[in-house]
Amino acid sequence: MSNSEEDFNFAYLDEQTKRMIRRALIKAICIPGYQVPFASREMPMPYGWGTGGVQVTAACLQETDVLKVIDQGSDDTTNAVSIRKFFERVAGVKTTENTGKASVIQTRHRIPEQVLSEDQILVYQVPIPEPLRFLEPRETETRVMHALEEYGLMHVKLYEDISINGEISTAYAYPVKVNDRYIMDPSPTPKFDNPKMNFCPAIQLFGAGREQRIYAVPPYTKVISLDFEDYPFEASRAEKTCEICGATNTYLDEVVIDDKGTRMFSCSDSDYCNSQKS
């Protein structure tokens, strides 16, 4: 890649490509939870590193935007740093670690602890957009299942989990139903984050680059985690306190701190943790 910023269009992608992505985004917003095929481009980072999210962010960014990028909840993880630097370089937008000050937040594997606002867009990086994929490997089949709202297979899977393990054994990428219609993969966020998606004031956009799919949840849309009346969904977390800020309601990282395997727990959302400390 050249070192001269002038070689790139604003936010890297050419305007035609951004337009194509925006069309897919509009369609996705109109049909909440439906996976819209889009002509994903090769990006200068590998598939699996967030190429879908990067394309969605590129299509949304304007010069006045303030961008925050997190991976595993933190702004400091290497890939978050790398993607943030990418947009600093090719879009020249302001970046921040402060959740409240960001207008666009690109995330991998977490939803920030702070409640998002109507002025914000949350862009998720998605590896496998199809929630039914591990039950049915064929895309040709799963598209028909969605079209017919034929979700029995998923309920049987959840039921079998309970009958074998005593509970639904999905800890992350826990399937949700959007707007009473489509079953959707929330991306590999821990199920602790699922309730944050429900009636969220921010726009939630999902980009899967390799799989060439975009989907969305418009603001204030019903997003329900699948469950049974007698086995209600539970947003689980480690039942500990953050040892840095003292929070008792956040999702925690478990860190091994010595050779004996001693653990400590701290907030996965580094910005939230910092804000609680001060």
């Binding site: 590193w49 991976d71 400091d76 040709t140 509970e167 054994s169 060439q212 689980s236």
Partner: protein, 360 residues
């Protein structure tokens, strides 16, 4: 107290500097020039151009140098560059009858008009290390004979005259070729789209798929009707001037297989075809592609699928792209500790319940 890991940015910068240093290697050894790669590693160039879907030996050489010889990494560099280029039109169909071939062989006929032309092939070399190349390795120049400057009629034409092989027809739906790099792949794909996906698929993946058909997983009895490698011109119609101009001369490998005949009481049996077309001298891939193309054609030829992997369009087309594959396979080395933490909590809870049930 544990301090959250900071300094990702510095770590990345240092990793990049270290990478550059290792790429250059021992400074006492002369720096490898892009020209050297271009002229002496031409088969690597061919792979990078084919799977990068960009015919540009110079950029392919640069990519190979930058990627330290990792061809998939080089292909990725080319793809990421290619996708930024504007697409200004569709070239005229290439006519491989007009190829100036440096290699052209047929396995189905002992001899044929134009003859068998071996060209620069490894086929009959003895695979003995040539220790002379360790030393100076000066090689005499070779001047090919006059017969290398002719055009050859396609071997399948001879079968065609007899009506004994299926004819290729461009159906109207395929007249406008789809573009895999500008539209999302959707299944079922027509043959034009399948061939497009196969020609940029990973050589190793196609080789494995092709091999599996020969070993019985979707067997289709192939003969190499013809394999040819050589230069062809690419023409483009400029609307403003209203006629075709030659915009490039490219080297390609083409393989046509002649496959098992099929027929019924009402339809006389015919040979069928598989087709392979790859940038550069890349005959292993051209042959593999032809075999896989033929295997994927079972539906349109009215055959019954064995359910073999190579006959499964969704399986082959979704998994042959090495840039997609390498990205997704390797991405599991990125941090996943948030999800792992969620799994930890879940498994602890389930284990606790199980132990309590056992005790109770």
């Amino acid at each position: 107290m544990y301090v959250a890991v900071k300094g990702g940015e510095r770590a990345i910068d240092n990793a990049h500097r270290w990478l550059e240093d290792e790429r250059r290697g021992d400074r006492k050894v002369t720096d490898l020039s892009v020209d050297q790669i271009k002229t002496q590693l031409s088969l690597s160039i061919a792979k990078v151009m084919a799977e990068g879907s960009l015919f540009d030996p110079e950029l392919a050489s640069l990519a190979i140098k930058q990627a330290r010889g990792d061809l998939i990494e080089a292909i990725f560099l080319i793809r990421a560059y290619r996708t930024t280029l504007p697409r200004f039109g569709v070239g005229q169909p290439i006519n491989t009858d007009k190829m100036i071939a440096k290699r052209r062989i047929s396995a189905t006929f002992k001899d044929l008009p134009g003859g068998q032309l071996l060209g620069p092939t490894f086929d009959y070399t003895h695979r003995l290390l040539d220790f002379k190349l360790l030393a100076d390795g000066s090689i005499d120049e070779f001047e090919p004979g006059k017969d290398t400057e002719q055009m050859f009629q396609h071997v399948t034409q001879f079968l065609n005259n007899e009506g004994i092989i299926e004819t290729e027809e461009t159906s109207s739906s395929e007249a406008e070729s789809p573009d895999l790099t500008r539209q999302p792949l959707e299944i079922p794909a027509n043959r034009a789209l399948r061939l497009q996906a196969l020609t940029r698929s990973d050589e190793g993946f196609l080789l494995g798929m092709a091999y599996s058909t020969q070993r019985g997983f979707g067997r289709n009895h192939p003969f190499v009707g013809e394999l040819r490698i050589g230069l062809i011109s690419v023409e483009f119609e400029i609307p403003e001037i209203g006629f075709n101009i030659e915009i490039a001369e490219i080297e390609i490998s083409e393989c046509e297989t002649v496959n098992q005949f099929l027929g019924s009481k009402t339809h006389p049996p015919k040979f069928t075809r598989g087709y392979g077309f790859v940038f550069g001298q890349s005959e292993r891939k051209a042959i593999s592609m032809a075999l896989v193309d033929r295997a994927l054609r079972w539906k349109e030829l009215g055959e019954v699928s064995d359910g073999a992997p190579a006959q499964d369009e969704e399986f082959v087309l979704y998994h042959g792209d090495n840039i997609q594959a390498t990205g997704f396979v390797e991405h599991i080395k990125l941090p996943h500790y948030v999800d792992f933490q969620a799994e930890l909590e879940l498994i602890r809870k389930i284990r606790k319940t199980a132990f309590e049930a056992k005790k109770g």
